[in-house]
């Protein structure tokens, strides 16, 4: 998974074939992790139109309305990078996007869902589903879903709330075990 932020506007490379861009809304939680409100992601294998279709595809497979585009753009950049280095992936994705057609990106959700339902068993859809789920391995998603990630470097949760649930009674000692005493 590529953890680079697409928010860093990089110089266009000669190989750049397209770009997806946008502006974060003021007060967005993403603004906390993004260095700028204006964002753009260069594409090396896909056109801007294909990038837009990819964005619509990702937002149909994993529709989190309050999660902003740059989070999805990280995933699209990952797909783009793979397609740029692997002709088979490039063909699979380009053919799939062509099959969805230019109107896919601007269609209402129910139309987009119906189009994808028809493709559910194809290698294109199955590949895209897994790749779009790369979304949940990004820092953006960790923040958005409240997931805390690795905890070894912070000493785990033993003294940081692994048992802090208060809306149910505690488990009797006989069915669990003692928490080791914290040494000062």
């Amino acid at each position: 998974m590529d953890h680079r932020s697409p928010v860093d506007r990089r110089d266009f490379l000669k190989t750049t074939t397209g770009v997806i861009t946008g502006v974060l809304v003021a007060g967005s939680p993403l603004a906390l992790v993004a260095p700028s409100r204006v964002w753009a992601a260069d594409l090396k294998a896909f056109t801007s139109a294909e990038g837009t279709t990819l964005m619509a595809l990702a937002r149909t497979i994993a529709p989190h309305d309050k999660l902003e585009d740059p989070a999805y753009a990280v995933v699209i950049q990952g797909i783009d990078a793979e397609a740029a280095s692997d002709p088979a992936t490039k063909k699979l994705v380009k053919d799939g996007l062509a099959a969805l057609g230019p109107s896919f990106a601007t269609s209402p959700e129910n139309v987009r869902v119906a189009a994808l339902k028809k493709m559910e068993q194809t290698p294109f859809f199955q590949t895209m589903r897994v790749k779009v789920f790369g979304l949940y391995a990004t820092d953006y998603a960790y923040k958005y879903f409240g997931y805390e990630g690795e905890a070894f470097s912070k000493g785990g949760y033993l003294f940081r709330g692994f048992n802090d649930l208060r809306w149910l009674p505690d488990v009797p000692l006989a069915d669990s075990g003692p928490v080791i005493q914290q040494t000062k």
Binding site: F133, G146, G149, G156, Y157, L158, F162, V171
Partner: protein, 522 residues
């Protein structure tokens, strides 16, 4: 660490360094027996375990291709991952989640207890429960299993509070933080559990028992172990008398080598154990080794499973705490009134965010899927671990049209679910829903069969050579210096997570091998 010659025909070769192979290596070397231990994967350590879930998965998992056939839903839901096991020193004890239930007596006599269940190949184990219990006790002490022999249980996480309160409210009596091979207190020279989750990514404190940092370094310290990581055994060879003489392997530099041996023990996790025996076919053994009765690869079992996720309106934070430290044991009984034979456990399970949509919700997408994900903080999880009905046609075969990187046929896994498995899963899902409802769940999501993390019975032990591949010591019926040393040897799957049983059988097998070597019988 020792280095033995390739032409040293006095060594015991063990293939696979997991629960069975790693334990056996320690047990033999501490008795002074020379062992060459082959492992296909690399050696990691507490320091090198990645804590990025995707990276850790790639670091530890056996990712080489396998094919699937049959009607099992795993073929559709997990097309590239029918089984989820490790390729690394320590094998699947590196990613295991450390639950150590014992096999029950009724389960070891399934053919007698259940009667003639149509479409199954049930068989009583050729070993008494009391005999196995003796080795369970040794294994549990060695692994420092919680809730056994005076070792306190693991503390309850927030996640377990949800499961516990729900289970108790609907009347379950045997609900606790499970028999875990995880240190809550320092023991065995290993660290303690810091409740960080990430059991399946490799335990960075070493609180969780793994052969990687217990049995294997202790075997190395005897000066009798020659561990060869990144070395793939491709074939077991035999002489004119039918006894095995050694193995062919591809070393870490990609060069083919031959290691001679007095004894060969196969412990590659069920799919690969069966595959290696089949790949070793010869003029004398055209169906593969130890396969004169066409039993190798048959009766493949992987536990009847499925996830049950409960969604609440308050936080659970399931990713905090030992991944599997919670169990409901009440359904592990023989009670055909439920509509099926065999028992099951409901085991608490957590999943980190990146893995959850891929493994935990294997075929979902779209608006409903996203709504579940939006509730990630508020989700509790259990999985079903139930006894599979053994079927002789659920089997591992060689797929001659798909080859691996070494040019060898890959394993095909064929699985047709028995109606008993389906009925058991349905019952377990209904019970799980009651557990969640009792503590105010908004919704429950269930999944179909999960990838096989417990793979068993493909070279099963049997009293009669016509019914299986090896005897009660894992010694193959056909070839007396060839042994089965992993979960393949289990006669039936039972409803117990298999590692404790694999370790116990390896302890027993080591006694047998050293005794027989001493008596010059092998």
């Amino acid at each position: 660490m020792a280095k033995f010659e390739l032409n040293d025909d006095g060594v015991v070769v063990i293939i696979g360094s997991g629960a069975g192979g790693g334990t056996l290596a320690h047990e033999l070397t501490r008795r002074g027996i020379k062992v060459v231990l082959f492992e296909a994967g690399k050696r990691q350590s507490l320091a090198t375990f990645s804590q990025v879930p995707g990276e850790a998965f790639a670091q530890l998992t056996w990712l080489e291709p396998r094919t699937q056939s049959g009607t099992s839903s795993v073929k559709d839901d997990y097309p590239t991952l029918p089984v989820w096991t490790c390729k690394t020193v320590g094998g699947s004890t590196v990613h295991w989640t450390a639950a150590c239930p014992r096999v029950q007596e009724y389960e070891m006599k399934s053919r007698t207890t259940y009667g003639d269940v149509k479409g199954t190949s049930h068989l009583d184990w050729p070993i008494e429960h009391a005999e196995l219990l003796k080795y369970y006790e040794i294994a549990e002490k060695r692994m420092n299993v919680a809730r056994r022999h005076g070792v306190p249980g693991l503390p309850a996480s927030s996640h377990f509070k949800v499961i516990y309160n729900g289970a108790r409210k609907i009347g379950y009596q045997h609900v606790h933080t499970n028999y875990m091979a995880i240190n809550a207190q320092p023991a065995d020279g290993r660290g303690i559990c810091i409740e960080q989750g990430f059991c399946a990514q490799g335990c960075k404190t070493g609180a969780k028992w793994s052969t990687l940092y217990t049995e294997i370094p202790r075997a190395e310290a005897t000066g009798k172990l020659d561990l060869r990581p990144e070395s793939r055994v491709t074939r077991i060879e035999h002489g004119a008398d039918g006894k095995v003489t050694g193995v062919v392997y591809i070393d870490a530099q990609g060069k083919e080598q031959r290691q001679k041996a007095r004894i060969v023990c196969v412990a590659c996790n069920s799919v690969e154990t069966a595959r290696l025996l089949l790949l070793s076919e010869s003029g004398k053994f055209p169906k593969g080794l130890a396969n004169s009765h066409d039993q190798v690869g048959r009766h493949y079992s992987r536990h009847t499973g499925g996830f049950c996720w409960g969604i609440f309106d308050k936080p659970v934070n399931m990713w905090r705490g030992a991944t599997l430290a919670g169990v409901i044991e009440d359904e592990n009984v023989f009670n055909p009134k439920r509509g099926f034979v065999g028992g099951y456990h409901l085991e608490m399970v957590a999943m980190e965010l990146p893995t959850y949509p891929l493994v935990g919700l294997p075929y979902m997408w779209g608006r409903d899927f996203a709504d579940i994900m939006e509730n990630y903080r508020n989700i509790a999880g259990m999985f079903i671990n139930g006894e599979d009905m053994p079927r002789s046609d659920n089997r591992i075969t060689l797929n001659k049209t798909v080859k691996d990187a070494f040019g060898l046929p890959v394993a095909n896994i064929h699985f047709d679910e028995h109606e008993n498995d389906t009925a058991m899963r349905k019952h377990a899902q209904t019970q799980a829903k009651k557990v969640y409802d009792a503590v105010g769940a908004k919704r429950m999501i269930t999944t179909r069969q999960t990838p096989g993390t417990h793979n068993m019975c493909t070279a099963r032990m049997s009293k009669d050579p016509r019914d299986g591949v090896c005897d009660a010591h894992g010694q193959t019926h056909d070839i007396k210096n060839l042994f089965i040393s992993d979960g393949s040897a289990m006669t039936t799957s039972t409803s117990a997570n298999p590692t404790l049983t694999i370790v116990s059988l390896a302890l027993r097998q080591a006694e047998h091998i050293s005794r027989e070597m001493g008596a010059k019988n092998i």
